[in-house]
Amino acid sequence: MKLRPCLDISLVGKPSGVVEVLTEPEVLYLPLRSQRFSFSQTSVTEGQRILPGQILATDPDNYGVPLIAPRAGTVRLEAVENHIVLEDVANEPEQKYDDPNGGAHAAKDGESLEEKRQKLLSLGAWQFLYDAHDESLPDPAGTPRAVIVSTLHLEPFSSRGDTQMVKRLSSFTRGLEHIQSLLEYQPIYLVMPDTQSQLAGKVRDAIRGYAWVKVVEVPLQYPRDNFTVLARSLGLQAERGEPVWAVRAEGVLAIDRAMTLGQPCTVRIVSLAGPAVTSPVHLRAMPGYPLNKIIPSRVHEGATRVINGGVLTGETIDPAQQGLDAECMALTVLDEQVDREMLGFVRPGGDRRSYSRCFTSSLRGRFGESLTTGLRGERRPCIACGFCEEVCPAKIMPHMIHRRLYQGDIEDALQIRVDLCVRCGMCSLVCPSKLDLRGQFIEAQNTIRQELHVEEVQA
């Protein structure tokens, strides 16, 4: 698949490379839901004193992915709805991570493939893996065709893979060895933004001789980091029963930690960024860390929206959610739109970047723009400008699909390949009629998937 160059979004509020270590918490609020998982099977009881690394709950629909206690504490099941609360959290410093007993290379041990994968699953490292085509959790018993290791995070404000790689290069390359040991002979594609950079040079030196790692260069343009887009650009189409696995840099580090130290992965690097954040940073945080200890002090005043994930695909955090969830990679904070600009549409618009060239800003070079949650216009019927098709990385025709779905014809929408949508949100972003194209396509895809599932069950 050939890709068109997509938006190069330059926005105010990018996180710096600094990783801030959060103070030890007193209480942890572990949400039972995250983007992919729902930890519905509780394995602890009220008031139980648990040890760090102990499994609190599992998700029976996702191969029993565990929710792991990052610290010792006392369990409260009913204190907050949809959360497991850990009280009296023991204050114990994080064990030094980059101090492996196995040296620079993965130790060769006698564990079988299945045992290794089970180990990853129970230590919470398996959940860093994705099926490249539908972003679901891969089956630990499955056999992938290939594994994509991505160091890219291209959505505006998301944490960047290199921030995490730079200091842990040896863990990273050892993690690659571990991933290889999970496979039989399948290739690993290491996706990097610039294969000529210093970091990339170091990585290449470190993996020299790993014939099974293929380094692929992908430019820093959203949504080139999307796993589906990456897989398709590598010629790895979706095949039934032959999945492609994908993992980000932090996943490689987690796998190394689990395999080398045999320790659970409880700490994540979460980026806290966005125009409403006073000094955007990366945070070293654990799941369950209270959100109100993270956000209010780092966000400037006024109405804001906290998004779990990036601005283009993330979801607004439910106000009832108290702590970081188990899959959180980025928190993005935007100011809510309040002001009403007088005669906004006739202004020259040198201060606003647009995909179109309808503002004088197109005569300027790159500049950072501070954005809010404003829809920036009124909702209108599609005027067939064709911008959505131009920016679509999946090369489908969002405007046509929108028309079919508007008429309620989901089968027709499938005929014109709504199934290829990678949910990147580019079409909604550029749409001058302010249509919610992404939401519409996700809904259609889910309906189609459900119907296919029903058909399979009936057959």
Binding site: M1, L11, R232, Q237, A238, E239, I307, V311, L312, T313, G314, E315, T316, T332, E336, Q337, V338, R340, E341, M342, L343, F345, G349, R352, S354, Y355, S356, R357, C358, F359, L371, T372, T373, G374, L375, R376, G377, E378, R379, R380, P381, C382, I383, A384, C385, G386, E389, K395, I396, H399, I416, R417, G425, S428, C431, P432, S433, K434, R438, G439
Partner: protein
């Protein structure tokens, strides 16, 4: 600015569900959102949006039309102003009427239609005909299809077509010569029908010093506006290039076959409504095809048909019919382009 904001906020209650003027809510909303950009927020991802909206998109066309409007004032005097006012008033009234009945937002599309329409009319046309024409164009050409974004035909051209068929004499008999008020003459295309001896000078056509419809005479002003539209990417260059190349090639072929009867290609490009039609009507994204491949075909069809009508039929100008025909063909061209596109996606999964 603050006073206006307070005034609008203060009178809002009359237009809400319980208010006495609730039927005029679309009108109030349109006014309100015209003066102040709405503060609507995104509900779902993506949480940020591009600043371009339909209002801006449409105002780019209006900006691009300004040189042409200025030229029409220069050549035909102040009689153009009441035409524009009447066109906006009548077209706007129809738009508001439909919006109020449907309880929908008032669409920005008529801002373009209302300005384009007088530009394609003879400068001597009675004002009531302007009103009737624009009302017909907006109502039948657009609203009956569901409003802006859903129309098959260019509303301004539907209105003009209606006037040309209903009042052929007023639409084609009296043309005033620019500059010399009260003197009437024939348009260059009418003269060209009688052979190439009396062809208008290319320089006159270029600057616009000829008889013709209000906005079509000055090729220079239209090119300035058209290039602006192309640079802002509101108009697609494929349609424009396809149309110009096809028209020039067809006209050149005719001229080669009989130079005494058919005018040369540059003359055809600069005369009549071709410039106005290509830059401002054929590029209308709604009534034209969406796919880039189809846009080439669409432009070529319009260019060829225009010259065919001019050279071979009893009509002097073919632009209007060519674009309306193009509008009819557009969905078919799109269908072909979409088929090709889907074939290329067949292996994708």
């Amino acid at each position: 600015m603050k006073i206006l904001r307070q005034l609008l906020d203060g009178s809002r209650k009359h237009f809400e569900d319980e208010g006495k003027l609730s039927f005029a809510k679309p009108l109030f909303d349109a006014m309100d959102n015209f003066m102040f950009a709405p503060s609507t927020r995104t509900a779902v991802a993506p949480h940020i949006r591009d600043p371009l909206d339909v209002k801006r998109f449409m105002s780019m066309v209006i900006v691009a039309l300004l040189p042409c409007v200025a030229a029409s004032f220069y050549f035909f005097g102040w009689r153009v102003l009441p035409m524009i006012i009447v066109s906006y008033a009548a077209g706007g009234a129809v738009e508001v009427l439909f919006a109020v009945t449907r309880k929908e937002d008032i669409n920005e599309g008529f801002l373009v239609t209302g300005l384009l329409f007088p530009l394609v009319l003879p400068p001597t046309l009675p004002l009531w005909m302007v009103a009737v024409g624009v009302a017909f164009g907006v109502a039948v050409g657009k609203e009956l299809f569901g409003g802006t974004g859903r129309n098959l035909f260019n509303p301004a051209l539907v209105g003009r077509c209606f006037l040309a068929l209903a009042y052929p004499k007023a639409m084609s008999a009296v043309w005033i010569q620019p500059g010399v008020d009260g003197v009437t003459g024939a348009t260059p295309l009418v003269l060209a029908k009688q052979g190439t001896e009396k062809l208008a000078e290319l320089s006159d056509l270029f600057f616009g010093n000829v008889a013709g419809s209000v906005g079509e005479t000055s090729a220079l002003a239209l090119i300035v506006g058209g290039v602006f539209l192309l640079l802002t990417r509101v108009a697609n260059w494929r349609t424009v290039v396809g149309c110009f190349v096809a028209a020039a090639a067809t006209a050149a072929a005719f001229n080669l076959s009989d130079a005494a009867k058919f005018a040369p290609a540059p003359w055809h490009l600069l005369s009549g409504g071709l410039m106005l039609g290509v830059f401002f009507m054929a590029t209308d994204p709604v009534s034209g095809p969406i796919k880039n491949g189809a846009k080439w075909g669409y432009g070529i069809i319009i260019g060829v048909i225009t010259i065919l009508i001019r050279n071979l039929t009893g009509y002097v100008e073919g632009m209007m019919f060519a674009i309306l025909l193009g509008n009819i063909v557009a969905p078919i061209l799109d269908e072909i382009a979409i088929y090709a596109h889907l074939r290329s996606l067949r292996s994708e999964r």
